[in-house]
């Protein structure tokens, strides 16, 4: 516990230590999960259950966010498009921004808030109420039975949701382009399909896979390493969401740099 009369060096030291502990914890978790992938030791029904509840149930919120984001991009860009008469570039601009950057990152943040936070809360509750211990005494490996299906489901579903969200965001943009700027949808899609390369789409999807790994590992790590009863669960969820968001932006920065 940080106390107020503690000096700055002590506080800094403590923060660095706890950061190192968490980063190390995530790395160890990743290594232990990888060991369980070859040969795969995975609970099939658990995987399906998680794919369903993490993916299918996220469709509405991701859909709404994506549609509005697409629309908002056009509203913001509208002034410039009008001034320069660059209607033909609308599809290119919206496509480039959505596929490479806005889509993956926004959907990852939504996913982290909905699915990642939920995952941390569930695992943390199971940890403090000794349900994880109970699994172990029943000769079940919690990592194979509980964690691996969740991690795989999160990575898969964020990837799929990103494709779905990209499509909806572009539809939102096309709709707003027509309604606000009078750019016909045909012009919009032509502009988009002519100028966007497969690589632009691939960049976004590679990023979304990375974000999936970040969210899955950090939300599981904070759930499993919780301590201190019910208040600890709240702290774990908080830490997990902050860590996921930070991790997403760091990964985005690095990936954008590498994948140019």
């Amino acid at each position: 516990m940080a106390t107020e009369d503690e000096g700055l060096p002590a506080q800094t030291g403590r923060a660095v230590l706890s950061l190192a502990t968490d980063v190390g914890g995530v790395a160890v978790l990743a290594a232990r999960l990888l060991r369980r992938m070859a040969p795969p030791r995975l609970d099939g029904p658990e995987l399906w259950r998680n794919l369903h509840r993490m993916g299918v149930r996220s469709l509405p919120i991701v859909g709404v966010t994506a549609l509005f984001t697409g629309g908002i991009m056009v509203i913001q860009a509208g002034v410039l498009i009008r001034r320069f008469g660059a209607e033909g570039l609308l599809g290119w601009g919206a496509g480039f921004a959505t596929l490479r950057e806005v889509g993956p990152i926004l959907i990852a943040l939504m996913f982290s808030g909905r699915v990642g936070a939920n995952n941390t809360a569930e695992l943390a509750t199971m940890t403090v109420t000794e349900q994880i211990d109970a699994l172990e005494t029943l000769a079940i490996d919690p990592l194979a039975y509980l964690i691996l299906p969740r991690v795989l489901a999160m990575i898969t579903m964020l990837f799929v949701l990103t494709i779905y969200g990209d499509v909806l965001a572009l539809m939102g943009a096309a709709f707003m382009g027509e309604a606000l700027l009078g750019v016909s949808t045909a012009t919009f899609w032509n502009g988009l399909l002519e100028s966007i390369r497969v690589w632009d789409m691939a960049t976004g999807l590679i990023k979304s896979a990375l974000f999936g790994v970040v969210i899955a590992l950090s939300s599981s790590h904070f759930g499993l390493s919780v301590s201190g009863g019910a208040p600890g669960v709240g702290r774990a969820v908080n830490a997990s969401v902050v860590a996921s968001a930070t991790g997403i932006f760091i990964c985005d920065y690095l990936a954008t740099y590498v994948l140019q």
């Binding site: 109420t129 211990d133 029943l138 000769a139």
Partner: protein, 244 residues
């Protein structure tokens, strides 16, 4: 059957201090002691959930800390455990909670599973509770579901942490009698932690008392009741005056 040798375990402070304990096969061993004496931690060391820093825990002649994952799972398949706060899986119904250990041991015959679940629920006086969720149960009901889950596989070694906490005196005695009867029928080795000393001592063969992480007394039930050790005497007889 269960052998604990010079076990040390610490968290922030030492919690187990040089505990040595032997539970013979087929014995119902009562573990008593005041709060925070380290009873639950010792049970978790027995189940291999916590690793002692020093000392060894042997069950069925296997040293728990030295086993690889597969061997440890094989040992755990022969151990049942009730946690102090039950540790029911809250996303599963009562029936699925009780059936869980059976399914994990490869039982797939749904009719047999349902029959054994119903039998367990009758045994703990909760017939017809199959489809309830743990969240909607009272404290004592949860405890009894926990007892049902811990006993459903008839394991060779069963560890109970407070099997009667939060139960009224009548239900409490019924649970102790039930666990004793089934332990004798199965010839199981049982370690039972309970604060309900009077009722606990009606079913135990041997008793150990812990204080501040150390085992300060070990003997038969009669020896515990007749002990002249001031702490044991005070604790067993619930006296207000004394060293505690």
């Amino acid at each position: 059957m269960i052998e604990v040798t010079n076990v040390w375990k610490r968290f922030a402070a030492p919690v187990l201090r040089d505990v040595t304990l032997r539970v013979p096969g087929g014995c119902l061993y009562g573990l008593i002691g005041p709060g925070a004496a380290g009873k639950s931690v010792l049970l978790k060391c027995l189940a291999g959930l916590l690793r002692p820093e020093r000392g060894t825990v042997q069950i069925f002649g296997e040293t728990i800390g030295a086993l690889d994952e597969v061997a440890l799972q094989a040992v755990r398949n022969r151990i049942g455990m009730l946690f102090q706060n039950n540790a029911l899986f809250d996303h599963l119904t009562v029936a699925e909670n009780i059936a869980f250990p059976l399914r994990r041991r490869g039982l797939t015959d749904e009719a047999e599973i349902a029959a054994r679940v119903a039998d367990r629920l009758r045994a703990v006086s909760l017939p017809g509770f199959e489809e309830r969720l743990p969240g909607g149960l009272s404290g004592g009901q949860k405890k009894r579901v926990g007892v049902a889950r811990a006993t459903v596989t008839r394991a060779d070694v069963v560890l109970y942490d407070e099997p009667a906490a939060g139960l009224d005196p009548v239900t409490s005695q019924k649970i102790f009698d039930l666990l004793r009867r089934e332990q004798q029928e199965a010839g199981a080795t049982v370690v039972m932690v309970s604060s309900d000393i009077d009722r606990l001592l009606t079913v135990t063969d041997r008793v150990g008392m812990m204080l501040d992480g150390a085992l300060i007394f070990e003997g038969t039930t009669a020896e515990a009741q007749g002990s002249l050790h001031p702490v044991v005497k005070q604790f067993v007889h619930g006296e207000v005056d004394g060293p505690l």
